[in-house]
Amino acid sequence: MSDLLKIADRTYRSRLLVGTGKYADFAQTRAAIDASGAEIVTVAIRRTNIGQTAGEPSLLDFLPPEQFTYLPNTAGCYSADDAVRTLRLARELLDGHKLVKLEVLGDPNTLYPNMIETIAAAKTLVKDGFDVMVYCSDDPIIVKQLEEIGCCAVMPLASLIGSGMGILNPWNLQIIIENAKIPVLVDAGVGTASDAAIAMELGCQGVLMNTAIAAARNPVLMAGAMKKAVEAGRDAYLAGRMPKKLYSASPSSPTTGLIS
């Protein structure tokens, strides 16, 4: 197996990255992540509950940082300053861990990213030594700028966070993939397995999702489906699809030897 996902200075066998939010409980979180085969899992940074929490299990008990690559995110941040501050805390929390997911939102209703603040945060974080995987709009020019800043991966949305609407603009995604020198991963908007497969067939290096798995009626089953979809999509991309044509004058069966 030489087809590995390379991000910053590490390689991964799985091209499916998953979030850890919205599950019924930690046991279900773990079961779904195991079924997904994901090696990279996103986590959020939040205020610790003070009082009555002693002895209560935490996410880290179910997903030991030794077994997974944690990708702390800046979900919920609406300014570059808040995002940078959050990831500096994450780095301290995770013993100097450098790989992070930057997202700066612009609007609480759509959760559309604010790319002006995102670019400002990315500059600061790259200078500060972080390996920045950046959630972004599917704008090829913005993506190019994020690459030039020194982000280690760009993660354009397929559609809005939590919408499950699938890939709304495969053409933009194709332009982004063709021009990128760093890994392009689809982040947000995947609704079901075929969406993930399409992203991979387009040439994405990976897919990041949370709600598509956690909000499925059976999250563990969906996690397995996503694993297969990402693998199938990747293989199809590597295999190189046949050209599309409206009709074919070349049937699959021999044109000679027909009975008469």
Binding site: T20, T42, I45, R46, R47, T48, I50, L59, L60, L93
Partner: protein
């Protein structure tokens, strides 16, 4: 002294104590967390040496489920 911890004011009898003492007092020993005091991160290695005084604003954070 009064400290603001995660946005809430809390009063303590002592005039000053270390971040390490605060962690113990709040029953957070052994938990994986990061602490910011007045906007500056206090590295874990500095918990013993860093003294808190009246008016300090602290953020104590951990990792939770999220996308």
């Amino acid at each position: 002294m009064q400290l603001t911890i995660n946005g809430k004011p809390r009063s303590f009898d002592a005039d000053s104590f270390s971040v390490a003492h605060l962690v113990t007092t709040l029953e957070l020993t052994g938990k994986r967390l990061a602490i910011e005091c007045n906007g500056e991160i206090v590295p874990r290695s500095q918990f013993e040496a860093t003294q808190l005084v009246d008016g300090n604003k602290l953020e104590i954070v951990g990792a939770v489920g999220g996308g």
